[in-house]
Structure formats: structure tokens, C-alpha cells
């Protein structure tokens, strides 16, 4: 486990069951603002993820960056989320500002937040298939509708 994996920023690992309790204790520790909430899909990650031994690596990781205005500090909470049960409790009750960010994570990764007040897609259309930021999401390409055949000079 590389010591500088998190580049000396304060990182807290926890499991999903400890997640709410961990964040609640951080909130009590004056981390009163949820600066950022995002996720990473580690499906094709080649390197060592440098997790502590007690944390089992899963495909998804929800990353929460909390900010303490009093202490001028930041802390990052990393939670492992398995793909076959991609759910995690919502932080809405503690940080109402996490609402849009959690919706974005749901939209992009398909991780659903239990007790989220508005679990809808936020950036993609309502009827979109798939979760774009997943590593196995087919980027594909749009079939070419119009092209010019330079050999014959005809265009279709």
C-alpha cells in the first residue's frame, strides 16, 4: 500500500454499513459542507488501488469530499460498492447539497442511493439506456448518415 497514494490528503475508507455513521461522525467533527460527491468505476484499473487490508475492493467506489469551514480542512471518504448490489445510503439528510451530485452519480454509474428524495437521471434524458461513465459502457460511434465516395465522386 503506497503511502502517498492519496498524496497526503486525508482519506477515510469505510464499508457501506459504516458509511452513514462515518460521515455522521465527520459532520460532528465540523465537516459541515459536502464539497463533492462522485464515483469511480474500477473495472479496468490496472494498478494497485492501495486499499487498506480490511477493505475489500469492489468495482465501484463512491468518493465524498467533505469540507470543514471551521478547521479549513478537507477529508475524503472512499466507499466500496459492489456491482451486483449497487446501492448506497443517501447523504441527503445530512447534506441536502449532495442531492444533485448523487443524482449525477446515479445517472452516470447506475449506483442508486437509498432514501434519496428524487432518484432520477439528471444529465441524461429520462429514457436513456445504460450508464455512460461505466467503463464497460460502449462508446461506439454514430453510423455515418451522409458520406462522399471519393472514387466515384457520388455522395449519398
Amino acid at each position: 500500500m503506497a503511502a502517498d497514494y492519496g498524496r497526503e490528503q486525508r482519506v477515510v475508507h469505510c464499508t457501506r454499513t459504516e458509511y452513514l455513521a462515518t460521515v455522521r461522525s465527520l459532520l460532528a467533527e465540523s465537516f459541515s459542507m459536502c464539497a463533492d460527491l462522485t464515483a469511480v468505476d474500477y473495472l479496468t484499473y490496472a494498478a494497485d488501488r492501495s486499499l487498506p487490508p480490511e477493505v475489500a475492493a469492489e468495482r465501484f467506489e463512491v468518493v465524498v469530499n467533505l469540507l470543514s469551514i471551521e478547521k479549513r480542512e478537507r477529508v475524503r471518504v472512499r466507499v466500496q460498492v459492489p456491482v451486483d448490489d449497487a446501492t448506497i445510503p443517501s447523504l441527503f439528510d445530512m447534506y441536502p447539497g449532495s442531492e444533485a451530485m448523487e443524482r449525477e452519480v446515479y445517472d452516470m454509474f447506475g449506483i442508486s442511493f437509498t432514501d434519496h428524495p428524487d432518484p432520477t437521471r439528471i444529465l441524461m434524458p429520462e429514457d436513456w439506456d445504460g450508464f455512460p461513465l461505466r467503463k464497460d459502457y460502449d462508446q461506439g460511434s454514430i453510423p455515418v448518415q451522409f458520406s462522399t465516395d471519393f472514387a466515384t465522386g457520388s455522395s449519398r
Partner: protein, 449 residues
């Protein structure tokens, strides 16, 4: 842990994906309604239940749900708001975003760290240099070279960042004036902004989307005569700001339209994660340049402008006065601009100078490889945040040791700030809705990314 994934997938495939829009009251649960009228802020469910029913609780036939946007001139791009109106009073409001979503975070995973700047600079297109700065700083932190950036590059970054804050705020003053019917202000604001952009064009070659601040420093040195250009700006803008004061700050109509409109408290702003002028308008003196200094902000003197009432007028005057503070910083940067390199002389991240390419085969290969393959960044993950004109812009990068970020996420201040809209709008008039949207100063490129 109630709904397992299979259920979610089933709902999606069944076409039962929940709708994004605002629903009529009859289709909402009490809790959803509470949230939408802004009652649920730092309240536990028990406390919400204690609140009982909401005072204004009209039947469906007394209210009207209308769409404002996405093609509305005052919504700053493609922001769509669904408003529930009772007469002219806004009862509920829901921002619906995503019309400008182009998957920039996904694109960022395919671009090397060298090319990443061209991507992030297009997110907040009104302050592109701050986007490049935060991306470069995150990359540098991953590389472990954040303390080795040459002094000249650091001061140049500060100069550009502050000038960009000025141009961004000048654009805000222009659009804020336009939204409230002060059309001359629109022309004035754009005129002054253009002066700043002209300087950017001279330095970076482009008015916007510069890709000038890069990992390791900046792309080029300052051009001949840059100091005179900056001094000209510093002479030109203060009297114009005085003019704005005469035109708007003291003007009764302007005050009537803004004072006491769109009020938000410090507690609400913090709960919603709002940063920048919105948080400062509530009296919280939180500015990352002061509280968590980066570059050399701890060595320059400037004041953090705070408001008191958390209304649109405070947000207007904070931005107006921040232009003045930025000019103070720019003046100090001018006095202290050191000589020397403008980018790190680390062969790993910096391409060789142009002249060397003609002389040495190795330099040519090196140059080619840096621009085609990029440079490898050691594995790790990092979150770096700086103060953009709109608030905290953060960049989270997870690297797997290759030349492209494994995951690149930008914490966009507008995306978070826009959540304040329902709380600011609630109970206000529809005519004030435009003033409130304007005072958030959202940039939709950044909201949707």
C-alpha cells in the same frame, strides 16, 4: 438498502424510469412536497413531520406549472426551470439540466494529461483559465511536482486567474443588467470584458478556451509589452466601475429590484454546498484564496468581500467589489513578477524548446512522444480545489499510472450552486425569478459538462 439493482434495471427496461420534471401536488408525497418547497434543509424526518402541513397548500386547479426555458434569453444558456405558480407567486421551482451535457468527463478519460486542458477549459467557458489551473494543479500534485513550478509560472498563473475573475465578473455585471432591463449596462459590461479578453488574446492567442495553463507551468512566456497592456487595463477599468456605481448601485429602481430578493441564509447556503459569492453574500467569509491558499495568494494583500443579507443585491455588489480586489492583486503581481522559466524544466512533462528540435534527433523524438503519447502519471488519486469566480472548482483525478486519467471529475461550482434556486425562489414573484437566476451566475457549460 431497499432497492437492489435488478429492480432498477427492470424499471429502466420497462420504460418506467422516473420523470425528471415537476409533478402536480396531487402526485407527490408530503415529504417530496416539503423538499420541493424548501422545508427540508438540515431537518431530520421527525422534525419535518412536526412542521405539519405547509401554510400555502393550494389545490392543483389553483396553481399552474409552467416551463421557463430551455430557450429563454434570461436563463443563461439552456437552463430549464419548471415553476409552479399561483398567480404571480412562485411556489415551487425545479431546475432541469442536462441540455448541454456532452460527456466531458468521459472524454477526459480518453485524452492525455497534456490534452486534458483543451477539454476542461470548455467547461466553464466564462473563466476557462481557472478550469485549466485546477486541472493542472491536480495533475502536478499527482506527479509530485507541485512545489517545483517555476516562480514566474506561478505568478503568471495568478495574473491570468485574477484577470479572468475580472472578465467573468464583468460579464456577470453585463448579464445581470440585461436581465433586469438595464440594457446600457449590458453593453458596458461587455465592452470592459472585451478589453480583458483582448489581453488574453495577446498572451494566449485566443479570447476564450485558451489551453494556456498546462501541467508544469504555462504554454508560453508573456509577450512583449504585456506590462503596459495590464497597466492600461488597471487605469481603464476603475473609472468604469465608478460609472457602474452611479448607473446602478445607488439607483432606486436597481435597489428595488434586487434588495431583499432571493434571500438565502448562511446555514442554508452551507447545507446546500453553495460556495463563492453566494456563500459570501450570507456573511460567511469563505474564499479559498484566503482560507486554503494556493499559488502565492498568501503573499498578496486583498480583502474577501462579504455581504450581510444574502440577497441578490449583496451578490451583485460582492462581484462588483471583487473586480476591485482582483485589480489590487493584479497590481501586486505586476510589482513582483519574477524572471526565469515559465514552465518546469522537467524533461518528463515539458517538451523541448522549438529550436532544439531542429538540432537534435532526440529532441524531435521526445517532442513527438510527449504530444502523441503524453507523459505517464504515477497511480494515485487527488482532489484539488481552487476559487473560481463562481465558487469552489475542484478536480478529482484517479490515475492508474498511464498517460490518461483513469477518472477525471470536475466539481463544478455552478452545478452545486444551482441547487439554491428553489430555495431562493420560493414565495417570490415570477418577475424576480430572472433576477435570482442571474444572481447565481450559472454557466451551463459547467453545470452540464
Amino acid at each position: 438498502m431497499s432497492a437492489p439493482t435488478t429492480d432498477i434495471l427492470a424499471t429502466i427496461e420497462g420504460g418506467n424510469e422516473p420523470e425528471q420534471g415537476l409533478k402536480p401536488r396531487s402526485e407527490l408525497t408530503a415529504r417530496e412536497l416539503m423538499r420541493e418547497v424548501g422545508a427540508v434543509l438540515r431537518l431530520s424526518e421527525a422534525e419535518v413531520a412536526k412542521l405539519g402541513d405547509i401554510p400555502v397548500d393550494p389545490a392543483d386547479d389553483q396553481t399552474m406549472i409552467i416551463n421557463m426555458g430551455p430557450q429563454h434569453p434570461s436563463t443563461h444558456g439552456v437552463l430549464r426551470l419548471m415553476l409552479e405558480l399561483q398567480g404571480e407567486t412562485v411556489l415551487r421551482c425545479k431546475p432541469i439540466i442536462g441540455y448541454l451535457h456532452t460527456g466531458m468527463e468521459k472524454t477526459g478519460e480518453a485524452l492525455t494529461y497534456m490534452q486534458g486542458g483543451t477539454n476542461v477549459t470548455r467547461m466553464d467557458y466564462v473563466s476557462p483559465l481557472n478550469n485549466e489551473l485546477v486541472f493542472s494543479m491536480a495533475t502536478e500534485k499527482l506527479l509530485g511536482i507541485e512545489n517545483e513550478i517555476p516562480e514566474r509560472a506561478v505568478w503568471m498563473r495568478m495574473l491570468l486567474s485574477e484577470l479572468n475573475r475580472m472578465s467573468s465578473h464583468l460579464l456577470f455585471l453585463a448579464t445581470n443588467g440585461m436581465d433586469l432591463g438595464a440594457v446600457s449596462m449590458m453593453i458596458y459590461g461587455w465592452r470592459e470584458r472585451e478589453e480583458v479578453l483582448r489581453f488574453f488574446q495577446k498572451v494566449t492567442g485566443l479570447r476564450m478556451n485558451h489551453n494556456f495553463i498546462r501541467p508544469g507551468g504555462v504554454a508560453a512566456d508573456l509577450p512583449e509589452g504585456w506590462r503596459d497592456d495590464v497597466l492600461r487595463l488597471l487605469e481603464l477599468i476603475p473609472p468604469r466601475l465608478e460609472e457602474y456605481d452611479t448607473l446602478m448601485t445607488g439607483q432606486p429602481i436597481w435597489r428595488e429590484r434586487l434588495q431583499g430578493v432571493g434571500v438565502i441564509t448562511a446555514q442554508e447556503a452551507m447545507a446546500l454546498g453553495a460556495t463563492g459569492p453566494i456563500l459570501r453574500s450570507t456573511g460567511v467569509a469563505w474564499d479559498l484564496r484566503r482560507e486554503q491558499p494556493y499559488l502565492h495568494y498568501d503573499e498578496v494583500e486583498f480583502d474577501v468581500v462579504v455581504g450581510q443579507y444574502g440577497d441578490c443585491f449583496d451578490r451583485y455588489s460582492i462581484r462588483l467589489n471583487e473586480v476591485r480586489e482582483s485589480m489590487r492583486i493584479v497590481q501586486q503581481v505586476l510589482d513582483r513578477m519574477p524572471g526565469g522559466d515559465y514552465r518546469i524544466q522537467n524533461k518528463k512533462v515539458t517538451p523541448p524548446p522549438r529550436v532544439r528540435i531542429n538540432q537534435s534527433m532526440e529532441a524531435l523524438i521526445h517532442h513527438f512522444k510527449i504530444f502523441t503519447e503524453g507523459f505517464k502519471v504515477p497511480e494515485g488519486e487527488v482532489y484539488v480545489a481552487i476559487e473560481s469566480p463562481r465558487g469552489e472548482i475542484g478536480c478529482y483525478i484517479a490515475s492508474d499510472g498511464s498517460a490518461t486519467p483513469y477518472r477525471m471529475h470536475v466539481r463544478a461550482p455552478s452545478f452545486v450552486n444551482i441547487q439554491c434556486l428553489p430555495h431562493m425562489m420560493h414565495g417570490g414573484l415570477i418577475a424576480d425569478a430572472v433576477a435570482i437566476i442571474s444572481s447565481i451566475d450559472p454557466v451551463l457549460g459547467e453545470v452540464d459538462r
